[in-house]
Amino acid sequence: MIRRLIRVLMLLLVGFICILVLAVPLTPGVPSWPMPDLLIALCCYWVLRRPGSAPVIAIFVLGLTADLLLMRPVGLGALTLVLVTEVLRAQIRHLREVPFVLEWLMVGSLMAAGVIVQVVLMWISLGTLPMLAELARYAGVTILSYPVVALICGGLLGLRHRSTGKLSYSTYLGED
């Protein structure tokens, strides 16, 4: 139980670091390339590897913090983050066996769908919409960032799939 709590705290910490990295002003105002949404990549990877230590509440808190700090449409980023991770959570059993490229494809299409949901909600609420090319570049960069985040999380933090098929005693008891 305590190990799981530490894992959740670690997710919150790494997620917050992602937000801070996004907030660093490299070329404010006119970025030549938009920054990828590292937070959604991190949460997707984490949910697929350690679903137990990525509770919905933690992901929601991270999403809302990012919205408030990064001046994104408040609530929209959190909403898409939670929905995307929930869809992935339901697919864990299938995504466990597939090669990484297929997993990337699935996550990427969900990320793109998330951007579309954001735009549609902004459009419904009569907000100003950015240009299509801008949105496409943003979604593309975010999708491309997924393998990088996966590499960092898998390599540095040691987050990988647990060996499949075996039901050990500790997982049976629901510990981590």
Partner: protein, 296 residues
């Protein structure tokens, strides 16, 4: 957890989870609706959070800023010869300008002495550093490390050394948010100096904002200076914004005077609009007459 271990994967747990998810989605949507309806209140919340998080931002901003300047320095080091030649040429041109500037300054001083001009003591500025910027395609803004404690008020103009950068929108105690001219929600009333027309500067996430609502676009020439017009009483008039360029499809756009590529320090003008005189004032006020105060 519910999917890994078979133990807790019961119907009750699943229902609880679904209810929780529904509640979270509802909260997200209601926060979004609240933000669309009453954005000043949510802005205040945002600034309060930024105020508390700022120390950690300061901690990350310093090393990265150092890193980018190092990279830029390295790049300039590579082409130091070209730069030297370029600078020499520029210096020659500058000498001529310097002479002209000195003469103008002397003339200006003489005229001012004749005139006994008092420059407005209100036109002061406060300089802040950009600590963080926004991410995502929906906004272009930056977080400054100066706030209401330093005397910054909402709606002030933000400039770099050369021209207008944006305006302050959202002030916390130690931080404030600057919406850049490139933001898709930025609308600034401007004045095109060559043809003497008024227009609206509309940001669209590109490095060159659109000049919209020009009455007679034929008379506008590329290279005309664009300054703020001061309409709307938010920004002061006559701040340089940039020069007109004409895009390939004939649209009028603005080449920003402010150097957005190397934007780090921003001046915030401490400007209060002059009070408008729209009534005769209290000089000939009719004093109310009270019977109770009448001497006996």
């Amino acid at each position: 957890m519910a999917y890994v271990s078979g133990q807790v994967n019961t119907g009750l747990w699943r229902t609880t989870r679904q209810i929780l998810l529904g509640v979270i989605v509802l909260i997200c949507l209601s926060v979004f609706v609240l933000w669309r309806i009453d954005s000043p209140r949510v802005d205040r919340l945002q600034m309060a959070i930024a105020d508390t998080v700022l120390p950690s931002l300061e901690w990350t901003a310093q090393p990265t800023a150092r890193l980018t300047t190092m990279l830029q320095d390295f790049q300039s080091y590579v082409r130091v010869y070209e730069q030297n030649e370029e600078l020499r040429r520029e210096l020659q041109a500058m000498n001529g300008w310097r002479e002209a500037a000195i003469q103008l300054e002397q003339r200006n001083a003489r005229l001012r002495a004749l005139n006994n001009v008092q420059l407005s003591p209100q036109a002061t500025f406060i300089t802040g550093e950009i600590m963080a910027d926004s991410a995502g395609p929906f906004s272009r803004s930056g977080l400054l490390n100066v706030g209401s404690d330093n005397g910054i008020s909402d709606g002030s103009a933000a400039l770099d050394g050369l021209g207008l950068v944006g305006r302050v929108s959202g002030v916390g105690q130690e931080t404030s948010r600057v919406i850049f001219l490139t933001d898709i929600n930025s609308r600034v009333p401007v004045f095109l100096q060559g043809s003497g027309q008024r227009a609206i500067l509309t940001g669209d996430n590109t490095p060159a904002p659109l000049i919209d609502f020009v009455e007679d676009a034929e008379r506008v020439r590329p290279g005309d200076r664009v300054v703020t017009s001061g309409d709307g009483q938010v920004l002061p008039a006559d701040i340089l914004a940039g020069q007109v360029i004409v895009a390939a499809n004939g649209q009028l756009r603005l080449r920003l005077a402010a150097d957005y590529d190397r934007l780090r320090f921003v001046r915030v003008l401490n400007y209060r609009p002059r009070p408008a005189i729209d009534e005769p004032g209290g000089l000939v006020a009719v004093e109310p007459f009270f019977f109770e105060e009448e001497p006996e």
